[in-house]
Symmetry: C2
Subunit: 463 residues, 2 copies
């Protein structure tokens, strides 16, 4: 028990309803970063957070990037470690809107299977997670008038859009982002009771492919059998991306991919995460990727390719006998180890182009890519964070890799020389990127308490 920490934890418990009100106010702002129509709401979400952090006593500014602004807040502390906390205020699009049980930007507390949860777009990814850190700071400041460590908070607005403009901004603001370690709250727990520190992340390369055949839509009765059909061309391309064993067929795709060490595989096997455990909750049974590998291996240490969207021709009710002029698909790759997104972009574009008939055309749009990152197991801050999490949750934190990508983590290492502690309180069933996104109330509450403990632990470890 700590004389400094206990009042902070008590204050977090006592002020929970108010904390939720603050989070809800932020969740009501539809800050969708990938759709230009919501650029105003992104600015609004940045402004709201800036107002909140200013009130807490941070020196705060909203700063322009090439896309959406970032929020930067400082509270230095002499003779103490300094942390750089990162999160994002932007959220995923909400379609298909008709599958939401309540409007995505009208947050509410729902009770399901005996657990209370916050339901809204952004509840888990990432506004709810960001607010666990902010509220931990609030409680420290309220009880002690100070924070245990120096803190810089950087919250960006384009994470769901490849963090466009953010690495450039980081590179231009190196001096203002100096810290001993970066903290990111955008990952998940091992399970409902077990905290997790994420020690590696897959990279990402995201493309859009637009195939154009005839210069107009055609009647399939008049032209069917004679005119090229862009959906056929696109289907052939997409079908060719995987072989019968689920391996990606792009030439050289697996160069730079390493097999996990035997002891890691052994550790994974001991976790008992079978295909049934992993896929059962989402209604599936069989791992769909490379044959003969564990699900955890597939999502942590193997690259993958997924078509994220496709559209072409008539998609309304009933029938229309049309041959479309154009069809398009969004295709992304998860990268591991030394796979290079720039090399992949060249290989992918060539792969696509050689499968398009000479009298048709194709556009390959390359969105931002990121390499995989892996954190050093001997980070001095890792043990402090593990201890703090164990105290809060009553269980050891699991240190594992994760399948998703947080591009900024690689940028922090490359540009700022910083390693990042990835600690988050999301759950696998949070439906981030899906309708009815939620964040467990326990994630929010105990997540806030966890950060309060971690900030203290980082200070104590130095002392």
């Amino acid at each position: 028990m700590s004389a400094t920490l206990d009042p902070v934890l008590n204050d977090i418990d006592r002020d929970l309803d108010n904390s939720l009100e603050r989070l809800f106010a932020w969740l009501r702002i539809a800050s969708i970063s990938t759709d230009p129509a919501y650029a105003g709401q992104c600015r609004e979400a940045a402004a709201w957070l800036a107002g909140n952090l200013t009130a807490l006593g941070f020196e705060t500014s909203v700063e322009e990037t090439s896309l959406h602004p970032v929020v930067l807040a400082h509270r230095p502390k002499a003779n103490a470690p300094h942390v750089l906390f990162y999160g994002h205020y932007d959220v995923q699009p909400v379609d298909p809107l008709n599958l939401w049980h309540t409007p995505p930007f009208e947050p509410r507390i729902a009770e399901e299977n005996g657990s209370k949860r916050i339901v809204a777009r952004g509840a888990s990814d990432d506004k709810g997670q960001v607010m666990t850190f902010v509220e931990a700071c609030r409680a420290h400041l309220a009880m002690n008038g100070d924070l245990p460590v120096g803190v810089t908070i950087l919250v960006e607005g384009a994470e769901e859009n490849g963090s466009q403009g953010v690495p450039e901004w980081v590179a231009q603001n190196r001096e203002r982002l100096k810290a001993d370690v970066a903290l990111v709250c955008d990952t998940g727990m091992w399970d409902r009771q077990t905290p997790q520190i994420t020690t590696s992340l897959r990279g990402l390369a995201y493309f859009e492919v637009k195939v154009t055949c005839a210069d107009r839509d055609l009647h399939s009765g008049f032209f069917g059998g004679a005119a090229a059909n862009p959906i056929h061309v696109l289907s052939k391309i997409l079908a060719a991306l995987h072989d019968e064993d689920g391996r990606v067929t792009l030439p050289g795709f697996y160069e730079g991919v390493r097999e996990p060490p035997a002891e890691l595989l052994e550790q994974w096997r001991s976790l008992g995460l079978t295909a049934e455990n992993f896929l059962g909750p989402i209604g599936l049974k069989e791992p769909a990727g490379e044959r003969g590998r564990l699900p955890i291996e597939l999502i942590q240490s193997r690259p993958a390719c997924d078509v994220n969207g496709i559209i072409g021709g008539y998609t309304g009710e009933g029938t229309k006998t049309v041959i479309a002029s154009q069809a398009s698909a969004k295709v992304s790759f998860r990268l591991v180890d030394d796979q290079d997104p720039e090399q992949l972009a060249r290989t992918f574009e060539a792969f696509v182009r050689e499968r398009v008939p000479a009298d048709c055309s194709v556009e390959v749009i390359c969105y931002k890519g990121s390499r995989a990152v892996a954190l050093p197991y001997d980070m001095p801050q890792l043990d402090a964070a593990k201890r703090a999490l164990a105290e809060e949750w009553g269980r050891e934190a699991v240190a594992v890799g994760a399948g998703g990508s947080i591009p900024i983590v690689g940028d922090f290492k490359r540009i700022l020389g910083l390693d990042t502690l990835l600690i988050g309180f999301g759950l696998d069933d949070d439906r981030i990127h899906s309708p009815n996104e939620k964040y467990e109330l326990s994630s929010f509450h105990k997540g806030t308490r966890s950060w309060a403990r971690i900030l203290q632990a980082l200070a104590d470890a130095r002392g």
Copy 2:
């Protein structure tokens, strides 16, 4: 020159502007049959035509079917042949709406490349074509107080939706549809100057395939490489429908397909319809279907398979790292000779099901199918129609097969024992089923004159 016919043709010329006003009034009604949201507009389009035909002196009724109503109008004539004219008042959907230069249901006259044209959804398919026949009747009645032959007009409202409910209605109304020949105005000219009588039509089988994998949308970072992706499953199915030579791979698909006779092939070759001629105007060069066949052969005497639409996952702007729960495609087949749409439905569904992983599911919706039809070359009315068309256009009419399907033609033969003269004035570039559909003013004007002549010729041939 005919004392009876000349005043009729003159009246058609004189009344052209009023004829257009009548057509425009009909075109303003958004009678989209495939979308239930437009059921009211379908009834409205039926009512408008019924009002028009009643005013002309037809005994007219609007009659219910299982989907949209049909308009039935009678004007018998003793000691004269009787014709059954068929057309449809329903139109195709209008998406993508943003590609229309002016609103689809605000008809206008546009001038392009020196030709005047009527621009609106339904201008060519099929309201404009139907009105050529109605206006020809109007002119005969105005000048002579009578028609040269007995006429029954049947205009349905579900042609773009597989004529749902219409064959059943026809079967229940055999007695009221008695005639010597059926006339259909829903086909095209050979070219801008050359009339055409269509002597065969391909059949149609139309399906929708919906693949479901996980029971919710997933984050592709967490699940990519481990969870089944319905767009992958669907792409593999669609890509497998054609082999490298453009042939459809469904087992037994080509059973019942006959090679065209050598003399017909020779005739086609003599028409000089090269791939360049045929595909150049729509921005293509290479026939995309079965290798080594003429374009005219591909669209007239060969079956074909086209994916008419596909959708799944995120299709908005920018990126979303999602693995969709569901993806779907609309797939149709054009049938020739003895291909059986019911047999095809069984084969297609089996083909699809065996390509869906065991832990995923698929729904195959089978829309109405129709067999191909071919008309007897020795129809007595064929010569009379050919003579009438030659007099109007100054050129012999070309008698050929067509790629599209008009299911009712097979029903007329099967249920009523009637052969059908398919005479229409559409052009290949009319953009039916596409944005900016148009009908040449010359098609409308000379089409009306053509029907006036054909009605007279059918009477004279009998006399």
